[in-house]
Symmetry: C3
Subunit: 368 residues, 3 copies
């Protein structure tokens, strides 16, 4: 049984990754080909030729203007996935078309819809406006994770691990010590976990980037929009700084928006997109370099830990149990929501269509 | 369910590979030991000691005259596979014998029979006489393929891929553009696919080896003898050259016989034997070196593509469909014939024998 | 179905391997954490945090005095496996405890009990007193084997393979030629195999270490205490040396006690512990270095052969048969005893407890 939630938007790439070269990424087990037309539009279609399944992203497949030419036998497709040429005959079979995917470029991400095409409403895409806002400077990256996406959801919803796994980078004793509050919007599929530390040590990640010396008030306000988008609103200010004003402005504090997109690649691997947007030192490339390097190090600490956990979870006996405590409230809520989204995707697909294979569903036939 | 056709001859090796060293190759999932007796005869027997299954091809197993001595406990076998000595006792159990395989050296190949011994008729072996003819010069090799043999059959029966996958080597636009004719001899299990290009670009493979400058008539006449032997009769001549004479001679054209033996190793791997025999520049080692290097490059382009396809096919959902067109007529016929041969091999084996394990079927017993 | 005998003692490590660093070893599929308390006692507990299963042996998990701190979220455990601290709350759930294992340090080995705790009687541990006796000097090591433990049991109970696999080291023609006698104590689970060679070539292993020139009487007396401990009492003396005296002393011969502990790691891998204790040249480091290097070479010859066999056995069809002869009498007895021990362990576990997962069996619950 699949563990992916279908009928959902997922981040497939940064917009900067997709250009006039053929680019492939697997999302929820589906291999998708991305490229940008001459006019600059991102396209998304199945990365398997309908003829003999050769990957269109693989050399010597190539882009020829706004057409993709398969490197095996030369089947040629337009930006809509429709086949426009085959070898040895003039007539192109009408069924020769690649599955194409709804795709939307937003907030510097390329979002792709996995599920039934007609349900793909771009209004459902959760936002991360800081990433391409002129009032923020953003550093970002993506690390491949050899672990199921659920382990990354667990990880990010329980930041007590910063103290242990990321000590010396973003963790201090106060993170693990300070209780959290959790709010769950079951209908919208959003989990909010907050931890406000009034008087805490300032970890290197923030002291070096902000220049604060001494202790801080540190707020961690998580918003997880299941299944893919995770936002951590981080507020840092020297102890004694006034709180945000009633109008919502907060000129005396530093704000960092840490954004993760958690995109399942296969049942046992995940694309771990991460971005760090700040509202200070906007033009300071030294700060950018430091935050990029430091956050990447932190992400790689998670990657090592979660890759290890995946090997354990993948081989442990059915029914192995965990022990959960208060800090896990948000993570358990996220699991519950994901379970519901997965079930909804399955029943929707069962209701409206015969079981569809993941690969191009064209009929094998010799077209004369 | 196996996908190998049993009761068939397969190419196991070139004769030059088998000598007075123990040599092993797996054919249709059966690990077979080959060596040449002092008198020069090739032998073929199971590559697993009957005692504890140690591979007889593995050091410190060794050849001692016309006997093989197992490197684990010293069980010793004659050229017929019968055990002639065991450690710690004089009496050799009567059941101690290795399965031996019918084997025939012909046209530079070592052919082995996979199936019921009594059906092994050497008259059934298809011929490739050019390979050791004094009127031809041959270059050859073998590349291991991490793909099921069916993908190589598909590949070789549809040469339109030369234009795309092998452009700059053997492919030109005319190969993909020119329609084919296909003839199928269902009873004999032979598929013939022909493509005659009257006025075509001469690819480097032929221009460099023949010295032809300018355009050519190029004939590709395929004969596939299922399951193992593939012949491509290639005729190349400058445009305007007279056709072959009524008596079959063809003194003004160049002829290249491209031979493949497609031998399944396991369900997911194949021995890709290839040979190129020519009737010109017989003593020109420069031409030999060029053709060997160039054909090997072409074969490795196929290997990369088919290894990629294997990974896709091996993980795709059951029932994934392909779209076939005219160029696939020969390949689809080959699949149909292979399917029949596989079914025949299974029903024959079911009719005449109890299910036999692939490994030596000797009885476990303490022989006093 | 498991192939491990439960309710048994197994060698998990040499005592020298376990200190004030976290040390992990998998025994019979169970990942176990070992460390020594400040007072010097060896502890053994499950190497998986009860919270999210992070391995306690994996950095940044660490030892803090006599407590282990998990590197993921900081769950902290005492030497008895009981959890004494969790993040974000004062109350520690009562069910938060790691499975702890009975453990005993003896004869230089760390023995661990795999099975029901209350049956763990240290009187059942078989002895190898030479290993830490002042009258013997011992060299030792452990080689990881990518093969099921049964293949190592087969190997060690049939030393005829010394002649072939270990020729030039410990094998001579007489080992394979000389018949054996076998005694089986089914109730105690002990197999004894003896081979007394009255006039044999002296292999380099013994000629170099003892200095004997010329032929020897060589006794090999095996005692296998299923499942884990294998003793080879080896007596070497120049031909003509008087036999051992009636009082058991044997001053004119050289004695080497070769000890193996055969510890299953997983279904397909084994810890191959080996030690060589001698009663001569006690202070000669040259002899120690020679025996260590030579025995390690011999063990690695077995490792290569058994790793090869594992690949064969793991992929061969169900019901593949072997042929056994006189030399296999001891090995077949060992298989029979192991089969019984495995069945006993399974039925005991079925009788006294519900099916228990290998990992910490604590209940998933949010402890408020």
């Amino acid at each position: 049984m699949t563990s992916f939630a279908r009928d959902q938007w997922y981040v497939a790439a940064y917009g900067t990754e997709v250009g006039r070269e053929l680019f492939t990424r697997t999302v929820c087990g589906e291999s998708i080909l991305f490229w940008r037309t001459g006019a600059g539009e991102v396209t998304a279609m199945a990365d398997r030729c309908v003829h003999r399944r050769f990957p269109l992203s693989e050399k010597p497949s190539r882009l020829d203007g706004d057409r993709v030419v398969c490197g095996y036998h030369g089947f040629t497709y337009g930006a809509d996935g429709v086949c426009v040429g085959v070898p040895g005959q003039r007539r192109v079979p009408r069924t020769a078309r690649l599955t194409s995917y709804p795709v939307e470029e937003r907030d510097s991400f390329v979002w792709v819809w996995i599920g039934e095409r007609e349900k793909a409403d771009t209004a459902l895409i959760p936002r991360a406006p800081w990433l391409d806002s002129p009032h923020y400077t953003t550093v970002y990256g993506m690390e491949p994770l050899a672990a199921r996406y659920g382990l990354l959801v667990d990880n990010l919803l329980d930041l007590s691990h910063e103290t242990y796994l990321h000590g010396g980078y973003i963790g201090t004793p106060e993170v693990a010590e300070t209780p959290i509050t959790t709010e769950v919007d079951e209908r919208a599929g959003i989990v909010r976990v907050s931890r406000h530390m009034d008087d805490a040590e300032c970890p290197p990640f923030y002291s070096t980037s902000t220049g604060i010396q001494g202790r801080i008030t540190r707020w961690q306000d998580i918003e997880y929009h299941a299944p893919c988008l995770y936002l951590l609103h981080s507020r840092i200010a020297p102890v004694g700084t006034p709180p945000p004003r009633p109008d919502g402005t907060d000129p005396d504090a530093f704000h960092v928006e840490v954004v993760y997109a958690i995109t399942p690649e296969t049942e046992h691997s995940t694309h771990d997109f991460w971005a760090v947007a700040r509202d200070f030192a906007l033009d300071d490339t030294g700060v950018s370099d430091f935050l990029r390097e430091n956050n990447r190090t932190v992400v790689l600490q998670d990657v090592v830990a979660l890759d290890t956990l995946e090997k354990i979870v993948a081989t442990e006996p059915e029914g192995t149990q965990e022990l959960s405590i208060n800090i896990d409230t948000g993570g358990l809520a996220a699991r519950r929501i994901l379970k519901r989204l997965i079930a909804q995707g399955i029943s929707a697909s069962a209701a409206t269509a015969p079981a569809a294979p993941a690969a191009p569903a064209v009929v094998a036939a010799v077209a004369p």
